[in-house]
């Protein structure tokens, strides 16, 4: 769990993508709370109550300080309602949650689940979802984003990994199948990206002026779902989880096309 690189990337992206400043600010505030976990290993069997005690107060405080009022208020109310641990347990069990509940659960649980590594599966034992394939092989969670590995050679297209929305574990998944329904017919799958003038031959930046050269929408006409794809081959400094937050205009575009993300990101997009 490399929090420094996430923090630094978020600061860097704030300058390049001013429209995402507010979200990146909340993200950095949450990452600071994750940092307080240090080397402590949470008990996988009682993760919800442990996080309710150890993570929740910090997350609520950080959200109140950095988030827009509706989110800050909703988080505060949730924490005071006495339902927080129930919400966290619901997230671990794969239950449907409201947007603010989902934010709270993820902000409180992602770091402990990442720290638990293989044990994340034990923490999510109550979730009946299958393991492997389109689900996270560790915890059964759904993918949050698609990542293309970087390569030193601009003529190499990296393999695809999916990153789990719950425990952030990454697993390999076919680059030419839909991460949501498995559709593999090329004509049913569309990649939306910023228009590049002229044909694209290699993966190195060739002086193009695109704002989102390394980000694209990997969409499926069969299930109307999409994920943001972060191509580390196009931007070696990308930290996928952070870069995905600045794809906001692409998300808005995807919504306009009637597409919805397989799992929204921490900020609800």
């Amino acid at each position: 769990m490399d929090l420094d690189s996430r923090r630094q990337r978020a600061w860097h992206l704030r300058e390049r993508y001013p429209f995402a400043q507010q979200m990146l600010g909340v993200y950095v505030a949450v990452v600071e709370v994750w940092g307080s976990l240090e080397n402590e290993l949470p008990p996988p069997g009682e993760l919800a109550s442990w996080a309710g005690e150890k993570m929740l107060p910090g997350v609520v405080k950080a959200t109140e300080a950095a988030a827009p009022q509706p989110l800050a208020v909703a988080t505060h109310d949730l924490a005071r309602s006495g339902r927080a641990v129930e919400v966290l347990a619901g997230w671990l069990a794969g239950q449907e949650l409201g947007p603010a509940e989902r934010f709270l659960a993820r902000a409180c649980l992602q770091a402990p689940l990442e720290a638990l590594r293989e044990e994340a599966g034990t923490a999510c034992a109550a979730d009946p979802a299958p393991r492997g394939g389109r689900h996270c092989p560790r915890c059964g969670g759904l993918p949050q984003l698609s990542i293309r590995a970087g390569a030193d050679d601009p003529l190499v297209r990296g393999q695809r990994q999916l990153s789990c929305a719950r425990c952030a574990h990454r697993w390999q998944y076919s680059a030419s199948s839909c991460p949501s329904c498995g559709e593999s017919t090329g004509a049913r799958r569309t990649v939306y990206a910023e228009k590049h003038d002229g044909p694209v031959v290699s993966r190195t930046a060739d002086g193009g002026t695109e704002l989102f050269a390394h980000l694209s929408i990997d969409a499926c006409a069969t299930c109307q779902r999409y994920l943001i794809d972060v191509d580390s081959g196009r931007d070696a400094r990308a930290v996928p989880e952070v870069d995905e937050l600045v794809a906001l205009p692409l998300d808005l575009y995807a919504n306009e096309q009637g597409l919805s993300k397989v799992t929204p990101n921490l900020m609800g997009f």
Partner: protein
């Protein structure tokens, strides 16, 4: 939104709109005004992905081709890259394969047959009919001139020794079979083939 109180119930109702944008605010209250402006200025294009195979050599690297259908119904090729799922090349392409795009879209591609008359310095553009007739006549003349019916020991051979045939990696197995059949029927014995796939 400084003094607005949103109850949990109201909040979940807002959230029920998914990531819908209300008054420039996201369901969690993020201000999207700037992002919407950026989105409006973006030039986004959607491409579908097709599987193909590099035509250049016997390795047979797998390609992904990104194409887009334009308003006039024409399909435009935008990008070609190695298929990361292929066990043959695992997303890699050599420089030649990586430029396979230019087979279709290069401005320097020669679109029609060119002909240089014996003794002439200049190439000129000719029709396919002209080129094919000319080839057929030359093949017939060479074949007639170099056809061998019996070898030195008097064995019946019926072969043409004056023309050789070189196939290409762009051939599929079926095309390679067809080419070989045709060349043998003309009596050629010097055949080189690189068909695969």
């Amino acid at each position: 939104m400084s003094e607005v109180e949103v109850s949990r119930r109201q909040f979940l109702q807002i959230g029920a709109a998914g990531t819908g944008v209300l008054g420039g605010l996201s369901p969690l209250g993020f201000d999207l005004t700037q992002a919407i402006t950026v989105k409006q200025k973006l030039r986004i294009e959607g491409a579908t992905v097709s599987h193909s195979v590099c035509p250049y050599c016997a390795v047979g690297c797998a390609l992904l081709a990104y194409t887009k259908k334009n308003a006039d119904g024409k399909v435009e090729l935008l990008q070609i890259e190695g298929d990361p799922d292929s066990p043959v090349n695992e997303g890699r392409l050599c420089p030649k394969g990586a430029s396979a795009l230019q087979l279709a879209v290069s401005r320097r591609r020669v679109p029609s047959p060119m002909y240089r008359e014996p003794g002439a310095k200049e190439w000129k553009t000719v029709s396919w009919d002209f080129a094919l007739d000319r080839l057929a006549r030359n093949i017939k003349a060479s074949r007639d001139r170099t056809f061998v019916t019996t070898d030195a020991n008097g064995n019946l051979v019926n072969r043409c020794e004056g023309i050789a045939f070189a196939g290409g990696a762009a051939f599929s197995s079926e095309e390679g079979y067809l080419a070989t059949k045709l060349m043998r029927s003309l009596g050629y014995v010097y055949l080189e083939q690189q068909a695969r796939v």
